[in-house]
């Protein structure tokens, strides 16, 4: 597939750009943050986005989805990056929704994904237990108990976990922490006895919850996919999430870069516009290259996954490493070039810096993905 947007994708992009700029400009995130909104985003707006078909993009038509791909979802999420729209594409659609689409039974899909596509059901994936992304470091245990399982353990950084109607929980049915085998995915209703969800917010004003599971019992119909083989689903889900998060980062860096270039053209010091200083010009030109490279590799990563291309994971890692480095460079340089004003809460640049850092450290930072890329290339 080519690396330029198709006509359909361009239409999606236009619609997303207009809707998000209108409905959720950066002031929207600020309002949610400053009012300590208990959800962190507007459920009504999410429903509207779902009605536009966005929540169902990657799901099949029989559950109410649009049957499109990550390439199309990426277009929307990139626009979300530009406006820092705090909507649950990653948490509900790609992570938990993706796990259900990939591993769920027909009944599970019908029951949950239909509501997700309508914007009525919110989901979250509870897998992480350590600070650094280390996908198989799972100690949470699920033991056989009667007809079902009893789950105990603690999960961190569960994106949008505090408002999820269903949690997908990764727990160990065999093996020990660090092993890829022996992980099973469960659908857990957060109101089940023993399940405590505590909201916390991250530097980017988004939600990540701590989920404590203390002897939470579920029936065997709560198993998603096969027992002990959850990692197969998670591997695919992480690749998809990593690529989509990279698309969001492309939106962030493009926006920050454009804002910075505009500032260089406007701000005057020493009687001239600061964009005349070569020390700043050259750095801006270098950032331009970084943006271009990030855009190209992310487009290819999304397409590689959609086409189920062999070695797609390798491109995904290249995309995430590239975006992590580029996002760090461009947000830091952007802030620096805004001078003192960049340090203020009033100026948006700092919000981008915070969101970029969250994205950079999620699902593996640049070093993690260079290591993975090397392994996937055989060295």
């Amino acid at each position: 597939m080519s690396l330029v947007l198709s006509e359909e994708q361009e239409l999606i992009q236009q619609a997303a750009s207009e809707f998000l700029k209108e409905q959720t400009p950066i002031t929207h995130l600020r309002e949610m943050r400053d009012s300590e909104d208990p959800v962190g985003f507007s459920k009504a707006l999410w429903k509207e986005m779902a009605e536009l078909g966005w929540a169902g993009i990657p799901f099949s038509e029989d559950v109410g989805g649009a049957g499109l791909g990550l390439a199309e979802l990426g277009v929307i999420v990139e626009e979300c990056g530009r406006t820092l729209s705090p909507y649950p594409f990653l948490s509900s659609v790609v992570l938990a929704g993706g796990a259900i689409a990939l591993g769920g039974s027909e009944a599970q899909k019908q029951e949950i994904l239909t509501g997700l596509c309508k914007g009525e059901t919110l989901l979250a994936l509870a897998f992480q237990e350590t600070g650094r992304f280390s996908p198989w470091a799972i100690g949470t245990k699920a033991e056989k108990a009667g007809d079902g399982f009893r789950i105990s353990g603690e999960k961190l950084f569960v994106l949008d976990g505090h408002v999820a109607d269903h949690l997908v929980v990764a727990a160990r049915t065999s093996g020990s922490s660090g092993e890829e085998n022996g992980i099973t995915l469960f659908l857990v209703d957060p109101s089940t006895q023993g399940c405590t969800v505590t909201r916390s917010s991250m530097i980017d004003s988004r939600n990540a919850a701590r989920v404590a599971l203390s002897d939470v019992t579920v029936t065997s119909s709560a198993v998603l996919g096969e027992v002990d083989r959850g990692a197969e689903i998670l591997n695919a889900v992480f690749d998809r999430a990593t690529a989509i998060l990279s698309a969001e980062m492309v939106g962030i860096i493009s926006e920050v870069f454009e804002r910075t270039v505009t500032y260089l053209k406007e701000r005057e010091q020493f009687g001239v516009r600061i964009g005349t200083f070569q020390a700043l010009k050259h750095r801006a030109a270098e950032m331009f290259c970084e943006v271009e490279l990030a855009q190209a590799v992310v487009l290819d990563a999304l397409r590689a996954l959609d086409e189920d291309r062999p070695h797609a994971s390798r491109v995904v890692s290249a995309a995430k490493a590239r975006c992590s480095d580029a996002a760090s460079l461009i947000t830091c340089e952007g802030l620096q070039m805004h001078g003192g004003i960049g340090m203020t809460d009033e100026e948006d640049i700092g919000l981008f810096l915070k969101r970029a850092k969250t994205a950079e450290l999620s699902f593996g930072d640049a070093a993690f993905h260079r290591d993975r890329f090397a392994r996937l290339t055989g060295f």
């Binding site: 270039v261 053209k265 030109a285 060295f379």
Partner: protein
Amino acid sequence: MPDASLEAFRSELVEWLEANCPASLRPGATSTKEDRDSWQQVYIERGYTMPTWPREYGGGGLSKDEARVLSHEMGRFANWVPVASFFGTSMLGPVLLEFGNEEQKKEHLPKIVSCEIQWCQGYSEPGAGSDLASLQTRAVRDGDKYIINGSKIWTTGANNADWIFCLTRTDPDAAKHDGISFILFDLRQPGVTISPIQLISGASEFCQVFFQDVKAEARNLVGTLNGGWTIAKRLLQHERAMLSGGTGGGGERPQAKKGPVPAPTSALAEAARAHLGEKQGQLADYPLRDRIAQNEMDALCFGLTLKRSGEQAKAGQGPGPATSMFKLYASELNKRRSEILMSVRGAAALGWSGDEFTPLDIMETRGWLRSKGNSIEGGTSEVQLNVIAKRVLGLPD
């Protein structure tokens, strides 16, 4: 989407290759000089060294898609593909096609295609490198000729060239960009002195060229008198596109759906494995492994960026200022790669001559030194950054 006319072209081409490509040039065979010469002859007659140039100027008259098919089939068929010298094909040719008059195209283009004339580039002067437009070499009209005096420097391959495309000052009183003309002339004439300059890599591909009352036919002025700067800039865009690995291609090859797909490899990592060994199946030196992964990823991302820009430019316009970005990135990437290779090879990287070092060692060492020129030739990296800032980002002067 197999396009019917393209498939017809392909099968005709394959038939032609079957009939004409000598057996000694097929993969696995060892070619002979006679076969190469005769193959080159047939190849040139078809215009295939410059497949997309029009037939009336000696080219192959193929569409871009057909040219892709040609290059693909040639890759499968022959282990040796004739190429014309790049100064003619990648720089002068495109500029003549755009700015030359009919007579100039008819005279010069076929000889580029046939590799009959070797060209060199007379741009830089001792006092005019980055600030190219401050050049001083003079051309003065005298009847149907221009008389040229001055000197050019860093002229790659001048000692093996037949002709030069040369920037000259034809109006010393005009503003510096407004008095320049683009003139072609024969280097093999009295008054031309060529002295090679040795590079740090030991090779001598560079020359300083002196002109004393050298003559150019007036009909070999390209474009308008004093209007050479526009042509000069366009040629530089072509040069940058060429130096950065072209304006298309790159990235991962589209994969066929069926059949096993070979695992990706890395030549850099292979070299490192040979020198450093492995620990638990991974390169033993962790920091170097990280640098290699970074370089490989950068190369992948860069290839995809070239591919993307090629697809965006399919509309058909020539290269634009973004080629500065490609020139910049390709140079810096290649230099980093050479630095990594040096680290990987350790002391073996330090050989200059002698039996202790393999010919490959010495070639790579000299390649490292040569790579330093990547960010200087065709305009320095700093100058590319200036071009991006000004022409792409629109930052003020």
